[in-house]
Assembly symmetry: C2
Homo-oligomer: 200 residues x 2
């Protein structure tokens, strides 16, 4: 239950620093967060951070890398073994939106602070993001080619679907009435309607 994508990080101090950094970057932004604040959040003094991470920028990069790999793995897993295009789109968009609700803090960091990455880091992250977008676009294209969807603008519609799922992290609040499951199901339903899929 309490498991999340940071569990695999060792040693313990590195993991606590990552979690503290995600919390602080999410609340105050990358530039608004001091390394002292992160270290304090992880229960250690300011200098100890540099035992585990070379720089503050490196810490942000590790977060971005882990988060993007996590979402990519989740999406690839979601469609695995599913056959029909509408079912694949439903599974994909459910997983996409649900992930962004469950991990809304981490997701917010990587959406808002992408610009804070240094160019070499940004390039690696951009490549991962292209793979995520391609996942969605390929599903739309395949379903349209199979005659299951009625889509005039594949590129634009796929972009809108990704946008809808990603933007969940901007407005989602866990104290609200909706569960991540609710959000995922509604998003998947709305995406199938966008695609003109036959009601199932």
């Amino acid at each position: 239950m309490g498991s999340d994508m940071w569990d695999a990080v060792t040693p313990d101090a590195s993991r606590r620093l990552l979690r503290a950094a995600v919390d602080s970057f999410g609340e105050l932004g990358y530039h608004g967060t001091s390394t002292r604040h992160i270290a304090a959040g992880a229960g250690m003094s300011a200098g100890a951070l540099y035992v585990h991470y070379r720089t503050k920028a490196d810490l942000l990069f590790q977060i971005a890398l882990t988060v993007h790999e996590s979402v990519l793995a989740e999406l690839e897993d979601a469609v695995d073994g599913v056959e029909e295009p509408p079912a694949r789109v439903r599974a994909l968009m459910y997983a996409f939106a649900c992930w962004h609700a469950r991990h809304h803090r981490a997701a917010r960091v990587i959406q808002n602070e992408l610009g804070a990455l240094e160019p070499p880091h940004a390039a690696r992250i951009a490549a991962l993001r292209r793979r995520v977008r391609a996942l969605v676009r390929d599903e739309v294209r395949a379903g349209a080619a199979a005659g299951e969807f009625d889509v005039a603008d594949v590129e634009g519609t796929a972009r809108a679907m990704s946008s809808l799922a990603i933007d969940v992290c901007r407005w989602y609040r866990p104290e609200g009435a909706r569960t991540p499951d609710d959000v995922g199901a509604l998003t998947a339903h709305l995406c199938l309607r966008m695609l003109g899929a036959r009601p199932s």
Copy 2:
């Protein structure tokens, strides 16, 4: 053509500072931007900023206020005089998404840096944002009540529609192939599909 929402700001120096601040906040974030950088962007020395704005936070607030009032006015204007629910939704969502494409830099500032507003400022902005969300929700509700739309979850669907239009500012790039007009039209079309409106 070159007209935008800052044209009405006087004197000239205040307007140049606002524009420079929007550019810089958009690129580097609020906390990543120094008052010296803003002042330099407006062609003056660091101290001159404080002749026109009390603090850096006040500058952000003026931006947020102007931007939110601009979008609210545009949306209210868009549906004015339009009668049928589907046509009203199309006009509303076209204007909403189109605005976020045309003013993507300013919109990005107010989406990403809302958390940097001080509590009294944040409260005033939050009230404006609620009015924008209500505009969309009311259109969905009215159309559903009139039997024009097929919506199981009014609140959630309206949220998704706002989300789709707002998120345009995150990914839109003017050097890309799509014009703000294209984006607005596609967004409106997809929203009508989400609502289960009869194809027109």
